[in-house]
């Protein structure tokens, strides 16, 4: 059975400039043990998608559509029911390990909290579990660190604590929202390796959210590229990266410096012209129209159709053929 089925998810935020559709008609499915990456720049709706699944949207926002976890629509769940899901069946790791831990509680207490809540374990059992988790996420001297406060740990260690916390109740799904963005590159790799290995060992599904194409490429089976709240391209990670087909995905890739000795690496680094449009006044039709090299009048009135170009590889673009041809010839 499909673990997570998101269908036609739309997240609307009430802003001073009127309602803004920050996520538009997003659909995807996730099987048990499958890993999915969501990539896109700031404000593309990737974090709001995660928060919508968790039922933790900001007060001025709401979600429409369905988010089914093992067949049950979470969007119809009451707050009490959602509290049973969060931290228990879905674990989440956030971006900022510096501010995502309570500075006044020991890390041991913070890791134990979810288990005490969902598993009803007593203090001694929780302690044993916390020590096991700290060891599992690679924190040295767990018996000493269990009583540490967050400020006594490094950024990488704090993120390990966050991971231990998210995994403490053995969730079916882990959502990692930019888990390494705030860390140094060397630590980033350690944390991503840790997450990937734990996911494999524990058989969990994962949604990894990142703006970093490299992070996505190396760590997930499937990928969704989002722009302006909408999915523009999706498919198996290797297929998508081998055949980038949406002008936005291509632009995103072109903006990453390449360090190898091929023709592509000696070209000038390209950027995508323009800036991300304001969510409150997104254009009708394709959200990327104002920044796209291939734009024609046909792109403006209606959202582009989703074209399947290979098994599971979908692109939402009217000019996908032209874009692919150009990309192959570059």
């Amino acid at each position: 059975m499909t673990l997570l089925a998101v269908d036609n998810l739309t997240v609307t935020l009430n802003t001073v400039r009127g309602p803004a559709r920050a996520v538009r008609n997003l659909s995807f499915e996730l099987e048990k043990g499958q890993t999915l990456g969501i990539v896109g720049e700031s404000g593309c709706g990737k974090s709001l998608t995660a928060l919508a699944i968790m039922g933790l949207l900001p007060e001025n926002g709401w979600a429409d559509g369905t988010v089914k976890l093992a067949g049950e629509n979470l969007l119809t769940y009451s707050e009490d029911q959602m509290c049973q899901v969060r931290g228990n069946r879905i674990g989440m790791v956030f971006q900022e390990p510096m501010t995502s831990l309570n500075p006044l509680h020991t890390v041991g207490r913070q890791i134990a909290e979810a288990m005490r809540l969902h598993r009803g374990v007593n203090k001694a059992e929780a302690r044993t579990e916390v020590l096991r988790l700290l060891d599992m996420v690679g924190i040295p001297e767990p018996t000493k660190r269990i009583n540490s406060y967050p400020h006594q740990l490094s950024g990488g260690q704090r993120q390990r604590v966050m991971i231990a916390m998210a995994l403490s109740c053995g969730p079916e799904l882990l959502i990692a929202d930019e888990p390494t963005t705030a860390l140094d590159v060397t630590i980033q790799k350690q944390i991503l390796d840790l997450i990937r290995n734990l996911i494999e060992d524990l058989g969990m599904a994962m949604i990894l959210i990142s703006h970093n194409l490299g992070v996505i490429y190396q760590n997930v089976q499937d990928v969704i590229v989002m722009y302006g709240g909408a999915r523009v391209e999706s498919g198996p990670t290797h297929d998508v990266f081998a055949n980038l087909s949406h002008p936005y995905s291509q632009g995103l890739f072109e903006a990453v410096p390449q360090i190898d000795d091929t023709k592509a690496s000696r070209r000038r680094l390209r950027t995508i012209p323009g800036t991300v449009p304001e969510l409150a006044d997104l254009p009708a039709g394709c959200t990327f129209q104002d920044r796209c090299d291939y734009v024609t009048d046909a792109c403006r009135p209606t959202q582009p159709p989703v074209v399947q170009i290979a098994a599971g590889h979908n692109v939402a673009c009217l000019h996908v053929d032209a874009a692919r041809k150009q990309w192959a010839a570059r």
Partner: protein, 316 residues
């Protein structure tokens, strides 16, 4: 003892020293010669001069200041001109009223403010929040002496639940004495509590936006559990700061409120001492109050270290 506490202790002493200078200077520039005030305007000049000599008023200012400092350090407080009683003895009797009054007012304001502030924050922008904020705005706007008069009119004159003033003393039983403190404490606590309630609300609201609060919610904690376990203790840090600062206002407020309720407390003692130019009483009592306020702020600093592990140097 940690470096943190040692630093705070040095600040404590320095602040007190500053307070002695200010107090002494303020009394120096106060118009009116104590000797002529004590003896009255008809006193012969020779008598005034003799008294000035006895009080040491004709000696140089620095000499008098350091004499006073020496007296304080060795805990030899002066003797009042007007009462001919040692200051310490005067203070001890008054403190039995003012100290419980200040504590009662502080507790009252803290309880009401925490309750209302947290209630309002948890109902942000909803009717409960708006109502509480409206009431607190009213509380802030009412001067305490006027509120004291209103309380007397309603509870003492109309309803006759309390007496309109005076203090029976603790020797006549705890309840009557406590009862006499209730109305003045309410008058004092209202403004403080209203300000503190607003502060508590905004501190709680601000803390609720922190990332770790979202983490707590992502663990499956309910809103209420998150508020109690993760928000309140973090929000207390700024609230305690304000409480410490408010304590000085509270003591100043006792001066006015004790006058309205005709309570022979420390505030009233100062007021009378000032009008009698009883310099020795004024400066010693003001310094004691200053020491008390600084001490309370020292306690607040120590409380920070208790609440916030980041302020505890571990291996020093």
């Amino acid at each position: 003892m940690s470096v943190f506490l040692a630093k705070r202790f040095v600040t404590f002493i320095a602040t007190l020293l500053g307070a002695t200078v200010l107090t002494f200077l303020a009394l120096e520039i106060l118009p009116g010669d104590p000797a002529s005030v004590i003896l009255g305007i008809d006193a012969p000049q020779s008598a005034v001069d003799a008294l000035r000599d006895r009080l040491g008023l004709d000696r140089p200012i620095l000499e008098r200041y350091f004499d006073w400092l020496e007296d304080i350090v060795t805990l030899r407080f002066g003797v009042s001109y007007t009462y001919s009683t040692p200051v310490l003895e005067l203070v001890r009797a008054r403190l039995a009223i003012t100290f419980p009054l200040a504590i009662l007012a502080m507790l009252l304001s803290a309880f009401v403010a925490f309750g209302l502030g947290v209630f309002a924050a948890s109902r942000h922008n909803r009717p409960g929040d708006v109502t509480v904020m409206g009431i607190s705005q009213l509380g802030i706007s009412v001067p305490n002496f006027w509120l004291a008069l209103l309380l007397i009119l309603l509870f003492a004159v109309q309803l006759r639940w309390f007496s309109s003033g005076g203090f029976p003393g603790w020797h006549n039983g705890v309840w009557p004495a406590f009862k006499a403190l209730i109305l003045p404490a309410i008058a004092l606590a209202t403004v403080q509590g209203a300000i503190l309630a607003r502060f508590t609300r905004s501190a709680v609201l601000e803390t609720m936006r922190e990332d770790y609060v979202r983490t707590a919610r992502a663990k499956g904690l309910s809103r209420r559990a998150t508020l109690w376990r993760h928000v309140l203790r973090n929000a207390m840090i700024p609230v305690i700061t304000i409480m410490g600062l408010q304590f000085a206002n509270l003591l100043a407020g006792t001066i006015v409120v004790e006058e309205v309720f005709a309570m022979p407390g420390l505030g009233r003692l100062i007021l009378q001492a000032i009008s009698n130019r009883d310099v020795i009483v004024v400066r010693d009592v003001v310094l004691m109050l200053a020491a008390f306020v600084v001490f309370i702020n020292f306690v607040v600093d120590v409380l920070y270290a208790v609440i916030d592990p980041r302020l505890k140097p571990h291996d020093v």
